[in-house]
Amino acid sequence: MPSQGNTRTVVTTGSTPTQSTSSSQAGVDKLHTLASSRPFTRQEGSSLPGVDVVFPACAALEEALVQLRASFSYWRCECGLGDFLAFAKSYVNENALESDIIALGLAGPVNDDVWCVDSRGILTAVVGKETYEVLGLVGEPLPWKEHADEHVIRISLRASRRQAEGFKACHAYGSKEADAILRWDTKRGPWRIVYYYSGTDNPPLKGIRSELKQSIRKRDNVHIPNLEDASTLVRHGRTDEETDAWGEGMSSLFEWIGMAGLGSPRISANDRCDPYIAVYAPPEPSYIGNLTCMRWSGLIPSAFVQEIIDQILSPNLASQGPFIAATAQCIGTSPVSYLLPDTSRTPPLRLPREDAGDTWSFVYARKDGERWWALAESVGKYDKRWG
């Protein structure tokens, strides 16, 4: 896809005919593991949404998605990192790269140090020069010249370090690491932490419990792309012109999905915007109809995101609605936003920033028992996911 500025976008497409083949199954598997590769979804403290699902108005689809009761709740607290890790260690699997707790430490007013505990049970911290020189833990410098002073430090919350290749970059959480974190807490003060864990008991740390918020918006008379010939989602073009045309088609489709999720008035059929302010044309072909947008906000665990995706892909809803699209935004201030399929490998480096971009959006279309899907993943500058 043509890049816009420093943003890089990769579009993956696939189809699942009535008789599934290994290649088509591999494509659908990518959708099934989409959520687990993104441990943190939602941007805490900002107005950006978490997960948006848009589809042409369909009562059955709406009922099926509303039933996904968000029984997930997350917590916010203020405490030292050492105290939090003492609590979090009990939810980390000692023998496998799994953890029932994810957490994010937010930047303070003095410096931009942040950390996160991802679904592998590894603490990843991105610290500035002053903190790194005092902490005493070896880290990896960020590869960008403007941010060469910042370092990434990884600590596995397990007592012993595994021998896997990827774990060579990790410290094990021993006495030296605990002392270093205690020194950091003493110097910095308490952290504002947002975390989710699968336990049902109240955590020992004093915190505020929050539930995931679900909202539904319905819009009438909007331009909706006509995906009857959904096979065009999958690139068939062999020449450069066909590929360019496909790229532009995809770009306009995902642009529409994003604007629909944000509730933009530009997609309204009655929009008469001054062309000096905005010029927008819906993707062709399109028709005018009613649209439903569902949104979940909060610190959304990957398990819930996967439930949404699985519901969308469910064969029970095969004949409901022409298409359904979902968009999710990862947390920009998280040091880790993407986990590789092989979780023992080190995730790609990125610079945590408020305006860091890491978004995925996928559209799933059905017709006559056949299904087509397209997934767009976009990362911004200072992200080494694709080099």
Partner: protein
């Protein structure tokens, strides 16, 4: 065959010429050749006779390059000078760096690398600091807050910067190399660019001075120096960290000098203390 000699006698041409021993060649003629030739050819000067008299007459002028010293003579002179310097050095009792390294002067054996063995050195250093900084003795009555007993530190900096740190306990507080942060021990050897310390775990560590900030402590009250009669078996003396003390930060980048040179050095103000 013969020729007429100066004394008008006839001499054989094959006979040896008379030797001239310690006799200068004297010009007998009234118009000797060289002076007249020089005067006639020095046409730029207004007074050729004066130019000749001041610049040429009586001077020794080399007409050819002087004979080069032979290589063997040069080698002999060098050898002689080297032997003389080695003899002088030996008389002074100074060992070269290679000789010191070969003899293992600065190496500690395994049984010598013990922290407790250097505590007397550390106590000696505490006594040295007490004298250098003119610390007051510990009050007999408890003052309550040791911070109130803190002496003025302004005058201490100039003395500390020239002080000897062998025996001090230094700790790395900040460093560009995170592996060094937290290292602490008694300084057993200070060189131009590093501290050699013995840690509490009986490990000998070499800590480079550049790119690190050290912290060392001096006692708050005067500490009596070790008496020469105190036996090693007597009760172990506490370190400076176990008694009331004052901590100072030491910026390694500005401290890369040998301890002997520091005594007479003038330290200039540096604009930045960043690592």
């Amino acid at each position: 065959m013969s020729y007429r000699a100066v004394d008008s006698g006839r001499k054989d041409v094959y006979s040896e010429l008379p030797l001239i021993n310690n006799e200068r060649l004297r010009f007998n003629g009234s118009t000797p050749f060289i002076p007249n030739y020089v005067k006639h050819n020095v046409t730029r000067s207004s007074d050729p006779a004066h130019a000749y008299a001041s610049r040429v007459e009586g001077r020794q002028i080399l007409l050819d390059n002087p004979a080069r010293e032979s290589k063997s003579k040069k080698a002999q002179d060098e050898k002689r000078a080297k032997r003389a310097s080695e003899r002088a050095r030996k008389d002074a009792g100074v060992l070269s760096k290679e000789e010191g390294r070969r003899k293992g002067l600065w190496k500690l054996r395994k049984e010598e690398t013990k922290f407790y063995l250097f505590i007397p050195l550390h106590t000696l250093w505490l006594g040295y600091m007490s004298e250098l900084l003119s610390l007051s003795p510990r009050p007999t009555r408890d003052v309550g807050d040791p911070v109130a007993a803190m002496p003025g530190a302004a005058g201490m900096y100039a003395k500390l910067i020239k002080a000897d740190f062998h025996g001090a306990i230094v700790t790395v507080r900040r460093s560009k190399n995170p592996c060094l942060v937290g290292l602490s021990g008694i300084v057993v050897h200070e060189t131009e660019n590093a501290f050699k310390v013995i840690t509490q775990k009986d490990q000998l560590k070499l800590i480079p001075k550049p790119n690190s900030v050290f912290v060392f402590a001096v006692p708050l009250y005067a500490v009596a120096a070790l008496s020469p009669l105190s036996s090693p078996s007597s009760q172990p003396r506490p370190t400076v960290l176990e008694i009331p003390h004052i901590e100072f930060e030491l910026y390694g980048n500005h401290f890369c000098f040998r301890s002997a040179e520091r005594a007479g050095r003038k330290f200039k103000h540096k604009e930045t203390i960043e690592l």
